[in-house]
Subunit: 357 residues, 2 copies
């Protein structure tokens, strides 16, 4: 029986994506070949890559605006390195907003390249909120932020107005809500939350920003080299790109990002309302910064843990444990999660309330 | 109907690997979850990663000899960068053997890090042979070579005796033949030939060689960082690692590397004998350097091309076209290729001979 999968990532994907991907592993498009054993230079795969790139720009409203979409390998952690290689000028400085574990990880790597200014941090409050009062040095090569903090359950609701190019790690909320994406210079997102399986990273780059650092950059770490080869500088992660394309097709067929946002708002409201109503639970993140992707909450009384855990597991729910640095619970309710599955969790919380009283 | 897949890569995988991988995409191990949507920190995936790493060392005969096996992202091209970051001392020099397109690619990246000496090259003969007379500077940080040249169909039959650590790109012949693998300091191999789908790279590192360059190295480009986290420094390409593990299980269950080599020798002999016997064809690579993985050959008379192409396509063969830099044909006969499929190709070549005469 299919689980209600609240895992933070790799995470739930639409069932029709799983069905099509499994079929392609056996026989892609009736070709007599598996998707795992076709050349990346084959007509079939070139078409997949092109459709994935086009869909990504289309869904973000960035077609014809000077952006390129790339599907690369290595995960967001690789972009922590490609970003300074591509944008941080020799003897220049980079500005970072520290909103969580992954933001801090990006900062640590940037520091290996040059002066890295942390404009604000919520670390001392265990990243329970998004800092809002900060200024970005006008001479920074770029400003880097993380739109959604998977571990802590916070999400940026606004982005700063600045002339400095904004680089944003959107790994855990890409395609989940409407934003004016043309505000960003570079957007990157590991696939394994809202887009596909682990193994590829979407990078959306405003082309005019590149080629200005005077750094000696290895080709594979240089966005320009990937753009020049239509995201085929080397053998791409074929299957992960294919599954991501299927998910992007699914997003489009289901109304695009606007429709995803509407559904995500409903799911988040359902769950946050229960957390507020139910006296046995407490939210972790500051109200105004709460994430609509990762809902973090704790038991008011830890003594009830065994009972609650038993109940949600019995309801066929998986992946609900919080990250060790926060504790408690984390319900990740990405695009592919149905409101029915969220309702199952809410029902368990209410059932649990009855057994305790 | 299943094709006879002679593609150079991504390439043929054992049918049972495809069957198990497709099943796992629907429901992994009866967990009610797809392999694409389970956490990389789950017990299930940690066990997969550990089995893949252990099997790799076991099949290479490197268990307990100071080596670590890693499954990373990015393809061999990423290792072109990780290798100098990890081994090339500041102000040191690296030695490279230039035997083909990929060897040349590795050299181009190393040059961005420091002095790079090309000890020998067969470029002027379109890489049709492996240079043998060369000396490796004793003060080089490492010596890099490519064991099998997929495009040109050549393969190193011997490796130099030297005190300099040997780094070898074995992307297209790993697990295909017995070698004393303990001669190497680092072995790396993109999965998409003999090991799995595109999307992961096996790296086998002799641990004592690391940490000696005095370079400021981004963590994700530093083998030590990956070793410290048991190949989970960041989210690994879960599905590609799983499919690679399945293939390694298949290699072991079918007699290990020794049995693969025996079968590969038979397949290569069958095909090369036909190329030599059949006056309509000619081999491309120098006899003594011929690859047992990628068999390159041309038509003596190009005018017959249309006829021959028609015949092999009718026989349900795919992926036989040579690389554009060599032309003609290339039959890639990796571990998963059966001798029956090679026989189908040989039959077509003999049938073709009859239609021409």
């Amino acid at each position: 029986m299919k689980k209600h999968n609240f895992s933070a990532g790799p995470s739930i994907l639409p069932q029709e994506v799983l069905d099509k991907a499994a079929q392609a592993v056996l026989n892609y498009n009736n070709s007599g070949l598996s998707i795992l054993e076709i050349s990346h230079r084959s007509k079939d795969f070139v078409a997949i890559m092109e459709e994935a790139r086009t869909l990504a720009l289309e869904l973000l409203g960035l077609e014809g605006k000077g952006y390129q979409a790339l599907f690369l390998s290595g995960g967001a952690s690789m972009e922590f390195v490609r970003v300074p290689y591509s944008l941080l000028k020799q003897n220049g400085k980079a500005a970072y907003l520290d909103t969580g574990t992954w933001a801090a990880g990006a900062i640590k790597q940037a520091e290996k390249f040059g002066e890295t200014i942390v404009v604000a941090s919520s670390k001392s409050d265990n990243y329970s909120y998004i800092p809002k009062e900060y200024s970005i040095p006008t001479d920074a090569s770029y400003f880097h932020c993380t739109s959604n903090n998977t571990i802590f359950g916070t999400q940026m609701q606004d982005f700063p107005e600045t002339d400095v190019p904004i680089v944003c790690d959107m790994s855990s909320d890409i395609f989940s809500r409407e934003i004016d994406f043309s505000k960003f210079g570079i957007i990157y997102a590991g696939a394994q939350k809202n887009m596909g399986p682990a193994g590829t990273t979407l990078v959306v780059v405003k082309e005019e920003l590149l080629g200005k650092t005077d750094r000696v950059t290895p080709d594979i770490l240089d966005y320009s080299a990937h753009i020049a080869k239509d995201s085929m500088y080397n053998t791409p992660p074929v299957f992960a790109v294919y599954a991501s394309m299927l998910t992007l097709q699914w997003v489009k067929a289901n109304g695009g990002v606007a429709a995803m946002e509407k559904k995500n708002n409903e799911k988040a409201a359902l769950l946050y309302n229960e957390i507020e109503r139910n006296l046995l639970f407490k939210g972790v993140a500051k109200l105004e910064d709460r994430s609509k992707m990762n809902v973090t909450f704790i038991l008011v009384n830890e003594a009830h843990k065994e009972q609650f855990d038993k109940m949600w597991k019995a309801a066929n729910i998986s992946g609900l444990n919080g990250h060790r640095s926060v504790g408690g619970y984390r319900a990740s309710i990405y695009n592919a999660m149905s409101i029915e599955s969220v309702q199952v969790l809410v029902d368990v919380m209410q059932e649990f309330e009855k057994t305790i009283q």
